[in-house]
């Protein structure tokens, strides 16, 4: 047997990228994986019993990444079916049949569109984060994941170009790129 040792990155290649990396008003919603842009630009957020490290990461992203865009975001003190983003964290094992970390392809975060507005845009996104992975990560890595998933709640898809937290595999970049922000501005300013 010939053995060749190759040292690979601990964060190897990830999911596909999109050329435009904006899914737009797709009309898509469902149970486990359907991306769709949000139905408005005034987003209300609620965290469901998040570990402090993810609560801090989400707060940082809302202030420093989403804040400078045309999207306003506030905490929803009376969450209901109209709350725009519901953030959850668990020790996910098989939610939606994904291979959650540390199994298989190691899913660590997921965004789902739970309901549609009459416009065909997403009324409410769920954002799920893995504690199995998060428990052992640096603040920067957790914040990068929060940034990435927050981008999905706005309709941003993956893009394998440096300079954005929407890049895959997970990078330590803690911002959207100008390209990403242009998508957000173009698609939300008029709402």
């Amino acid at each position: 047997m010939s053995v060749v040792a190759i040292v690979a990155s601990s964060l190897p290649a990830s999911a596909p990228a999109s050329a435009t990396n904006f899914v737009g008003q797709s009309g898509a919603w469902g149970s486990c994986h359907l991306l769709n842009m949000a139905d408005n630009k005034s987003h209300t957020w609620v965290n469901i019993d998040l570990e402090p490290y993810y609560a801090n990461a989400i707060a940082w992203v809302r202030t420093n990444v989403i804040g400078p865009t045309v999207i306003t975001n506030t905490t929803d003190t009376t969450p209901d079916s109209l709350t725009d983003v519901v953030v959850r964290d668990r020790y996910y094992v098989d939610h939606c049949g994904f291979e959650w970390y540390p199994k298989g392809e190691n899913t660590i975060g997921l965004v789902e569109c739970d309901s549609l507005s009459p416009s065909g845009r997403c009324e409410q996104h769920s954002l799920r984060l893995s504690n199995v992975w998060g428990d052992d990560q640096s603040t920067q890595n957790r914040t990068a994941l929060a940034c990435h998933e927050a981008g999905h709640t706005l309709g941003l898809a993956h893009r394998n170009v440096a300079g954005s937290c929407m890049q895959t595999p997970l990078v330590t970049t803690l911002n959207f790129s100008t390209h990403d922000i242009d998508h957000i501005t173009a698609n939300y300013s008029h709402l």
Partner: protein
């Protein structure tokens, strides 16, 4: 209420589309029965529907151990991290035709949220997701499937899809290639294999042996760069073992 009615409308639309596909199959079966011809219109539609869903699934979140190439799933590519024994990424790779599709199970979240989804009967109303059980007649296999003639695996169905339509589509995929993770994930049938890549690694094989994984989109070229055809895959499988160590 708006969400529920939208979902029902989508299912009705999917059912109508499914009936249309069935009608096309019936009207075109004379040509389709002659051996295994190039993709028919109904096969094209079935593939389009299946891969559109797989593509959405592949782009909804963040995973950190996604394979760069199909060859990574061959039995002679071993991976290890943190001192673990080197092991293949998958049970193996199979090529073949679907011979049977049947209902699997449905899954729901009990309570507000849960670490694991709960298995319920397939016909449970408004499931989060479902499985359908697909049996493949194997024409070529690697890993655990080198000498196997058939294999059954669970395919993913999103809760927003009409499962009967999805089952119909899977039965019309023609020659496919599937990367299979270990068996044992599905308690209702421990012999079922899971599809690797969070159930997304299903592709097609052309009459000339050309492999395609449409759901990989922009990453498909890199994914198949080393093994664009079945012959290339077979050649790569015969190479010496390689151990990849992740830091």
């Amino acid at each position: 209420m708006e969400a529920r009615s939208s979902r029902q409308a989508r299912r009705v639309a999917a059912a109508i589309a499914s009936l249309a596909v069935i009608g096309m199959v019936i009207s075109g079966c004379a040509a389709g029965d002659q051996g295994r011809p190039a993709a028919s219109a109904s096969q094209d539609e079935a593939r389009q529907a299946v891969f559109a869903q797989l593509e959405l699934r592949a782009d909804a979140g963040m995973a950190i151990n996604v394979a760069k190439s199909l060859a990574e799933f061959l039995p002679n590519r071993l991976f290890s991290s943190e001192g673990e024994e080197p092991a293949p990424k998958a049970a193996g790779i199979v090529v073949g035709h679907v011979t049977a599709v049947s209902e699997g199970r449905a899954y729901v979240v009990v309570g507000d949220d849960a670490d694991s989804d709960t298995e319920v009967p397939f016909d449970t109303k408004d499931p989060l997701w479902q499985t359908i059980d697909v049996t493949l007649e194997i024409s070529q296999g690697w890993g655990e499937f080198t000498d196997a003639s058939t294999v059954s695996f669970a395919a993913f169905v999103d809760g927003s899809e009409d499962p009967q339509s999805v089952m119909n589509n899977y039965s019309k995929l023609g020659q496919i290639i599937v990367v299979l993770g270990p068996a044992g994930d599905y308690t209702y049938d421990p012999t079922l294999y899971r599809v690797a890549g969070s159930s997304t690694l299903i592709g097609t094989v052309g009459d000339d042996g050309t492999i395609s994984f449409p759901a990989k989109r922009e990453l498909e070229e890199e994914f198949l760069h080393e093994t664009p055809t079945l012959d290339d895959l077979d050649t790569a499988a015969a190479e010496d073992e390689v151990i990849v160590t992740r830091e």
